[in-house]
């Protein structure tokens, strides 16, 4: 059966202070997909903030899934409230959100179970436990029944084990909750592991320099083994950035190691 392709996001004529000048972007993807904007400076973060409606200072048109969608932005730094426990964090959002939530459908315990925090309902988030706090942020996002979740470089300071646990969790969540995820990242391996589409973004004036559809790429490299496929894909991405004169790739990738 052919997968239905839908347009989840269309940005046209975006202008914002020094970052974007007539920026255009379309994300057309299958249901419940994870897409990544790969970028080595702060422009992808700025874009996500604009899409997530937390930055008002811009001009242009942003259409999300026919206009009736809830978009939730998860910032780079941990943002779960440390004065509330896991359950209260989610309940606070359910009780105080201006989004018209159908409260009867929100099962807080189900959400807690889905993000892997069963048994930790009464635990308070520790500042140092980034994985735990990300799970709470994700649970709060799910509580408002979003169509798109925007994740802004949230895995930066986590150890590899936690990162991969969360990558798998995101894939599960995206499919179980019928939600698309748009991720801003500076880590090529992360983008390859998670995404259906990778959008390569150049910081200056916010320009999308290339789009890579991972399914197509895997198909082209089907004769190679998994490790070789990854290496070739990574080379392709790096080449694309270098051709477009993006200078800070090496620094950013070394930091990611």
């Amino acid at each position: 059966m052919k997968e239905e392709i839908k347009k989840i996001l269309k940005i046209s004529g975006l202008k914002s202070d020094d970052i974007f000048e007539n920026f255009n972007m379309e994300i057309e993807t299958g249901q419940n997909s994870i897409n990544c904007i790969l970028c080595f400076d702060g422009s992808a973060s700025a874009l996500l903030k604009i899409i997530g409606n937390v930055e008002d200072n811009f001009q242009g048109d942003i259409k999300i899934n026919n206009g009736n969608s809830i978009v939730v932005y998860i910032p780079t730094k941990a943002s779960s409230f440390p004065w509330l426990n896991v359950e209260e964090n989610i309940k606070f959002v359910v009780d105080n959100s201006n989004f018209h939530l159908s409260n009867s459908n929100i099962q807080i315990q189900n959400i807690i179970d889905s993000v892997g925090l069963t048994g930790y309902e009464k635990h308070f988030p520790d500042n140092r436990s980034l994985g735990f706090r990300f799970r709470i942020s994700l649970a709060r996002a799910l509580a408002v029944q979003p169509t798109i979740i925007l994740i802004d470089n949230s895995f930066n300071n986590m150890d590899d084990e936690t990162k991969f646990e969360l990558y798998d969790l995101l894939k599960e969540i995206s499919s179980n909750y019928n939600v698309s995820i748009l991720l801003a990242s500076a880590d090529i391996n992360e983008a390859i592991y998670l995404s259906e589409n990778i959008y390569l973004m150049k910081g200056e004036k916010g320009k999308i320099i290339d789009q890579i559809n991972l399914k197509e790429e895997w198909g082209k490299l089907s004769e190679e083994n998994n490790s070789n496929r990854q290496i070739k894909l990574k080379e392709k991405i790096l080449k694309s950035f270098l051709l477009n004169d993006v200078n800070n790739i090496l620094k950013s990738q070394t930091r990611g190691k």
């Binding site: 997530g52 409606n53 937390v54 932005y73 105080n96 959100s97 201006n98 308070f124």
Partner: protein, 250 residues
């Protein structure tokens, strides 16, 4: 080495250490001196402190003034938190008054209070409450400017309204900072209280200090100073205990 450091960092232990030195030096070594009284004289003069200087009523008056001003200013801070954390006339006005502390010693305002209400016992309570509230609110308004905004951004994205963001999220985010500043405020209030009562010379521990200086009563001066130090240290412990019960996050 680290154990020694911990030992001297505990205020009660430090005071006990100095008391021990004082007992040894001034009871047995420097028997005749005008710097500090002999421990035995201080001990014997305690009944004078209670009966002549009316220590219990003056002590409770002063401690009451500190407790009242801290409590009322925290309550005011809580109920006015939304107006303090948004940019408006109230917050701008309080911040500008708070900044006056860089140019004007607060006790100067207290002197005017004494001039206007020379015999009022309430004026001192009002003066300390206003000082305490302006200190806390100014600190909060100023700290808000440097606040990391992840919580606010996340809340905005989750559709939380701005009133809730200011009153619930930013306020809670600032509480640990206020907790740390409370010790400083507590000490500053004691300084103001002693100076105020010393000048007004009607009630309180400052009045006892004033009298003891007038009567050249070194043992009373010494014991009242010691009592004030111990009260401040105990007050800090109580404040820390109360705050740690409610503010467990960083």
């Amino acid at each position: 080495m680290s154990n020694k450091n911990t030992f001297f960092r505990k205020p009660f232990t430090l005071i006990l250490f100095f008391l021990l030195i004082w007992v040894v030096l001034f009871q047995f070594v420097f028997v005749q001196n005008n710097f500090l009284p002999k421990p035995l004289i201080v001990y014997n003069s305690f009944s004078d402190l209670v009966n002549v200087y009316q220590l219990p009523s003056n002590f409770f008056f002063s401690v009451g003034a500190i407790a009242f001003s801290l409590l009322i200013s925290v309550i005011l801070l809580y109920f006015l938190r939304y107006y303090l954390l948004t940019r408006n006339f109230i917050s701008e006005f309080l911040l500008s008054i708070y900044k006056l502390k860089y140019f004007i010693p607060v006790i100067l305002i207290g002197i005017f209070f004494i001039f206007w209400f020379p015999h009022s016992i309430y004026a001192e309570y009002i003066f300390l409450t206003i000082s305490s509230f302006i200190y806390l609110s100014g600190l909060m308004i100023k700290a808000k400017e440097g606040l990391e905004n992840e919580y606010v951004i996340a809340a905005k994205s989750l559709g939380i309204n701005s009133r809730k963001i200011y009153a619930e999220i930013e306020f809670k985010q600032l509480l640990p900072l206020l907790k740390d500043s409370f010790t400083t405020l507590h000490l500053n209030l004691w300084g103001l209280l002693i100076a105020y009562e010393y000048i007004q010379h009607t009630w309180g521990l400052g009045t006892i200090i004033n009298n003891s200086i007038q009567y050249r009563d070194l043992s009373t001066l010494f014991s009242i100073s010691l009592l004030i130090c111990l009260t401040i240290i105990s007050g800090n412990y109580i404040l820390k205990f109360i705050f740690n019960r409610f503010i467990h996050w960083e």
